[in-house]
Amino acid sequence: MRISKIRMKKGHREAVNGIIFTLPFTLGFTFLFLRPFVQAIIFSFHNLQIGSHGYSLDFAGFGNYVNALFVQPEFVRTWVETTAQMLLNVPLILAFSFFSAVMLNQPFRGRTAARVLYFLPVILASGIVLQLEQDNYFIESLRSMEETEQGFISLQTLGVFLMRLRLPAGLLEFIMAAVQRAPVIIRSSGVQILVFLAGLQSIPPSLYEAADVEGGTAWENFWMITLPMLSPLILTNIVYTIVDSLVDPQNELVQLIRKSAFGSAGYGVSTAMSVLYFIGTFAILLIAIAIVSKWVFYHE
């Protein structure tokens, strides 16, 4: 009886400590996240007017949603486009970062320099710099010159080459799209490569040694050890990539939502747009998790 009392006391103290340690987050989450989150949903059903003394709300029902979906000319189109781009980018970013991590994990001369290079975009991803880049006269003109005259493989040459190979039209389109978005893919893969690299380091070497004894080839090792051991991280990276596309300053829909807030559409419509965008992305996230977690392999 005495022991259980002590244990209870210990458990109680542990709970109190846990609550104290997590208190900063609990406060921040409640007041700086959950409250504005609920307010955002409320705002989306109202017309918001900001006066000199606080703001006022007029109930508008689903008016803002109807406005966003059927009146705003660009919203649905941009939404579909942004989502389609994200769905195309996620597998490309995943494949690129996976193979980059495998490559950067091998010993070779200049590996440190290669790693420094691969993660440079993470450092350079400054919101305002990227925003200005879209309006960059010089880089644009250089780029168009590279594509038409001097680039080592121009897109057209590649297209003609692939046509000669008689690839199916769908695959051809996918390859062309992938090549075209190479800069975006490479730029947004930094953190994912880091996660995969960390995973590669945590695979116990004994697995490879055992495979060596059994006579496994490098090819077999890759499919039977490396890929399954990294599969939980594939899930992590899918989630990270989808989430990251939400906060990308070059995300067109995000720009549109922001523009609408301060433009003629107004706060209410803008908030309705962001609620719709959030619901859509959240649904995609859940579907992706459901599909991928089926074949994720857990070592323990």
């Binding site: 542990e14 709970a15 109190v16 846990g18 609550i19 340690f21 997590t22 900063p24 987050f25 609990t26 921040g28 989450f29 007041f31 700086l32 996240f33 409250r35 504005p36 989150f37 307010q39 705002f43 918001l48 003394h53 606080g54 703001y55 980059s100 070779f108 440190t112 420094v116 691969y118 440079l120 993470v122 450092i123 350079l124 991803a125 400054s126 919101g127 305002i128 710099v129 925003q131 200005l132 960059n136 006269y137 010089f138 880089i139 010159m145 190479a182 800069p183 730029r187 960390a198 380091q201 939400l246 906060v247 995000v254 706060y267 803008s270 908030t271 962001s274 609620v275 965008y277 996230l285």
Partner: protein, 322 residues
């Protein structure tokens, strides 16, 4: 040349041309190709910025100028420094970024430890909340948050009070203290994973010595978690330095580097229009913006090259993966 020596040479070549060597050589070549391609894509915009930042406006329209400016000039930098108010904005940004990233480091490590080591009711829900903050786009809560700080009434607790916190650092400080800053959910996650991977013996020894949970945390766990703390601090610093979204909304009137860069072209042309000429062409503006952008990212690049070991190697060892 006798037949035997030819045969010897042939067999030596054959020995070198084994399947294994061929595959290895192929891999090395492929790797080199990929690396060159990646280097090209990553460095191209950067180098284009560097080269154009030294150009005079005529060079942009000169078809014979590709990379090396014909009219080398430091005017873009001179103007960028002048109109960004660079020394002042740099110091302000440095102070704010250092302060906020230290605050975020403190709050995220404390919360991560609480989630990793103590069992209490609702812990799993709280951890779910951490992940949830990462999944919701900040744009969604931007307007309510803006209004909360514009008419700050302690979140509805003191209705009569309506402080305008915009233009002060308070919103950013409040968010940093409560683990709500830029990507702070990720930092809480990293710290939790790291603390979970640390052996319990350390704390238990401290408890036996009579230390409480806080003493144990500060004297044993924090020093042991150095690699994770460094990673979180570096990322917090970099992302805070680069952040324009929150800084612009809450402290847009402050002389900080991202704000100054955003306004650079506008301030410049306003000054020119007073002097008589009214319009700054797009090409000229982009030269100015390139110089300004480089001035903004230069400190980070220097930091990154000096500390690249910590950025890359310690992330591998922090158990980001857990």
């Amino acid at each position: 040349m006798s037949e035997t020596s030819a045969r010897a040479a042939f067999s030596r070549v054959r020995r070198l041309l084994t399947a294994r060597n061929l595959i290895a050589a192929g891999f090395a070549l492929g790797r080199l190709g990929v690396l060159i391609g990646v280097a090209y894509t990553i460095l191209f915009p950067l180098l284009a910025k560097v080269s154009s930042s030294f150009m005079a406006e005529v060079d942009i329209f000169d078809k014979t100028v590709n990379w090396i400016p014909k009219h080398f000039t430091l005017n873009n930098y001179r103007n960028a420094i002048k109109y960004m108010n660079y020394p002042q904005a740099f110091l302000n940004s440095l102070g704010l970024t250092l302060g906020l990233s230290l605050l975020q480091l403190a709050s995220c490590s404390v919360v991560g430890y609480g989630l990793a080591r103590f069992f209490f009711r609702g812990r799993e829900i709280l951890f779910g909340a951490v992940i949830f903050t990462l999944v919701v786009p900040p744009q969604m809560i931007m307007i309510p948050l803006y209004l909360n700080f514009r008419y700050f009434d302690f979140f509805g607790l003191a209705k009569s009070l309506e402080l305008n916190l915009l233009g002060t650092y308070w919103p950013l400080v409040l968010m940093g203290t409560t683990a709500m800053g830029v990507k702070n959910g990720l930092f809480v996650y990293i710290m939790r994973q790291y603390f979970r991977g640390m052996p319990r013996d350390l704390e238990e020894a401290a408890y036996i010595d009579g230390a409480g949970a806080f003493r144990a945390f500060f004297s044993v766990m924090l020093p042991g978690a150095m690699p994770a703390l460094i990673v979180v601090f570096l990322f917090a610093f970099v992302w805070q330095w680069n952040d324009y979204f929150f800084v612009n909304i809450f402290a847009g009137s402050r002389e900080l580097l991202p704000n100054a860069l955003a306004e650079l072209a506008g301030r410049y042309s306003r000054d020119l229009s007073i002097a008589g000429s009214e319009y700054v062409p797009r090409a000229h503006r982009s030269l100015l913006n390139n110089a300004g952008s480089l001035l903004l990212i230069a400190p980070l690049v220097i930091l990154y090259i000096a500390l690249q070991r910590y950025f890359i190697e310690s992330v591998e060892r922090t158990g980001l993966v857990g």
